[in-house]
Symmetry: C2
Subunit: 152 residues, 2 copies
């Protein structure tokens, strides 16, 4: 009986460790796919599809603006940015730390926007995005970024 219990515990511990690695790999894969979807939806001008990548209770923390709370307001925010002609060149994850039901992603972005005098300006910066597992998917609950460029 003792051997069976001990065996069961050992199997359970290894299964749990393996699950942890699986969960981590699957989180990285899912968040990477969602990031790609984010860029595609943004550049198509589909603010609703961008907003659908966020949890309903997400918080967006944009530079030089107040915090935006909830998916509906996040859709309005990105709708405005898209409407002003912004495009995403890239979102690139530097690392993703999976911890429990959350994944903390650090990355960099490149974006463009119409310049006031005509033409296009490019911005480069960095972000922290926090994902939360929701069933089989991962949704953004926190999104904050800022520019690398000196203040003008």
């Amino acid at each position: 009986m003792r051997k069976i219990i001990l065996g069961t515990i050992i199997v359970a511990v290894f299964a749990s460790l393996a699950n942890g690695q699986d969960a981590s790999a699957s989180a990285r894969k899912a968040t990477e796919a969602n990031l790609k979807e984010f860029v595609d939806a943004f550049n198509k001008g589909d603010a609703a599809a961008v907003a659908a990548i966020y949890a309903t209770d997400a918080r967006l923390l944009p530079p030089n603006a107040a915090m935006v709370e909830g998916r509906a307001n996040i859709q309005t925010f990105w709708g405005g940015v898209i409407g002003a002609g912004a495009k995403l060149v890239s979102l690139t994850a530097i690392d993703v730390n999976v911890s429990g039901n959350h994944a903390i992603e650090t990355g960099k972005y490149v974006s463009t926007a119409p310049a006031t005098g005509g033409g296009t300006t490019t911005d480069e910066g960095k972000y922290v995005v926090v994902w939360r597992r929701e069933g089989r998917d991962w949704k953004i609950i926190r999104d904050i970024w800022n520019s690398n460029k000196p203040q003008q």
Copy 2:
């Protein structure tokens, strides 16, 4: 024997749930104390004490500047900001999500800096700070913030 095993499992599950709540409460208490220490050390001009609140491999993502990597570089960064006369009025947590060995804190800050024409300017903004458990303490591994004020 079955009853003993079942009893042990039930005790283990409840102990684990209670531990989860304890861990969450203790994380909130520890991060709150560290936040207070951050403000005190900053306003005393002690960049080394500020940097000691970060993990050795932490990443700092300041607005309008490149990413700063590692505790030593973070100390240099904050030393420069302190040397320029900045003061922290407050750091206030809005919420702290504890997940595994990480705690994701969202909050707001108020800071002051000498104005170019004399006097003082006040800045208000928001931040996401990610803490990681290190033994009995919690250290910052990611720190990103931005201003609520329109770009000038």
